[in-house]
Symmetry: C2
Subunit: 296 residues, 2 copies
Amino acid sequence: MEPERIASIVDFHYINDALTREEAIALLKERRAGQHDRLENLRVNGLPAYTTSAGWIGFSDEKISRLCDEALAAGWTHFKLKVGGDPADDQRRARLVREKIGPANKLMMDANQKWDVEEAILRTRELQQFDPWWMEEPTSPDDILGHARIRREVPGVRIATGEHCQNRILFKQFMQAHAIDVCQIDSCRLAGVNENIAVILLAAKFGIPVCPHAGGVGLCEYVQHLSAFDYLSVSASLENRVVEFVDHLHEHFVDPVRIRRGHYLLPEQPGYSIEIYPETLRDYSYPNGRIWRDAR
Amino acid sequence: MEPERIASIVDFHYINDALTREEAIALLKERRAGQHDRLENLRVNGLPAYTTSAGWIGFSDEKISRLCDEALAAGWTHFKLKVGGDPADDQRRARLVREKIGPANKLMMDANQKWDVEEAILRTRELQQFDPWWMEEPTSPDDILGHARIRREVPGVRIATGEHCQNRILFKQFMQAHAIDVCQIDSCRLAGVNENIAVILLAAKFGIPVCPHAGGVGLCEYVQHLSAFDYLSVSASLENRVVEFVDHLHEHFVDPVRIRRGHYLLPEQPGYSIEIYPETLRDYSYPNGRIWRDAR
């Protein structure tokens, strides 16, 4: 789509104090340079991704260890660990993953909103020794100023958030307040493609990488398109950009994501890749689908 | 209730960087002084209120003029005008109301989220000549930093918001960012009495008056209790504090608000005053109630 057409699907109301339609169009025009090379790069190499599958909080150390080995063997280079449990457990698990993946691979940590602001500062400082590539959702996703303070008071740790931010106005403020280093859009939390594009454009204006949240039912299928669009038309860069991947429920999709050596391969079918098989919809329908009947 | 008991119903998670449980208890203890006198004052004089009924945006100048006369005759001293329409219309209507009510009475303006941030600054400056007692919801209710900028760039006009703020974390930030002069809790937007009390305590900590939003079905009935509690136990002051009133649908309530000369009289029945008559619930039930059947 032409820059003017892309800009026309964005609602600049409430964000034009940070990004005007004219600025967006100028940015999109400028970033067209090299688009064909970027598309070729995507076709050959795909989009860099990270795995969340190895580090869920309920997993035993043995299981985390085994999953790290498997992920390393499959070519993953970016690993996410859930934190926000008992501080000593968090540190033991972080040490375990760091030792398994080595110093060169990236370890992101995700607190899933567990901490108060001052607690988040303390905990993030404690975990800094394990070289987190980012700390995600250290506190309430509504707390722009809280994130800004955590970021300010734990220099050296990049702060990520966004999967629970409901609109472009929240994201605008996270960027204006210097509260985040990583912008984690969610294709379904935000109001569709249009609102996601608004946030992707804001992030480009502020120079903040977009690393979409994924992993829910179909989220990986959705967000690969947003990141491909971001790379091709907006940010024009893959630096510090990775798409979340969780290996979960893809078998229910007609056009599931395809992962190769820690990268999403570019989808080849038209559409947003989130059509669910009719058999799945039928079998899982509540309360009369086969799965529910069998579970009684 | 004892201060410790009041504090025990508040969730300080995510707000204790601004207000701790201990600070809340200390504040509540300190504010007990004079509580009996304040209760006596409420019994005699009631809670100061303001009327929104005269200034809706669809009203003709003639109607606004007549409603102002009626409200003045009924003893109202605080009047709210809806703005955010055509700028020339806004100014003409503001001039009309200011002329009707005179310089001593208070005129609040409410833009109901209509403007972008920079537009809000411009419009509020234009309307400043009519001496607004506050400008309400000048932009998106999610835009804490936008409100802060508007407030900073239009000195002399107090900024109000809150009826669309969903939780204590938003209010905490509006206060931390010096974004509001008036805190407009909504009894139903926030998660019940507990979350409202959290915000009332935060407002007391920051020295910001709470002026509840009301006017919807039963909102006036609800919020009178919150303001009475605020005055009796938390702020201990009525200065700059008024409760919204809209004369609308009270006839459906078993224990409706009672207004006398621009004041809410203290409720005399136990409870939250929002029981609806069974006949109302029956007659207005969709789609088979009498009102809906008759409307076909």
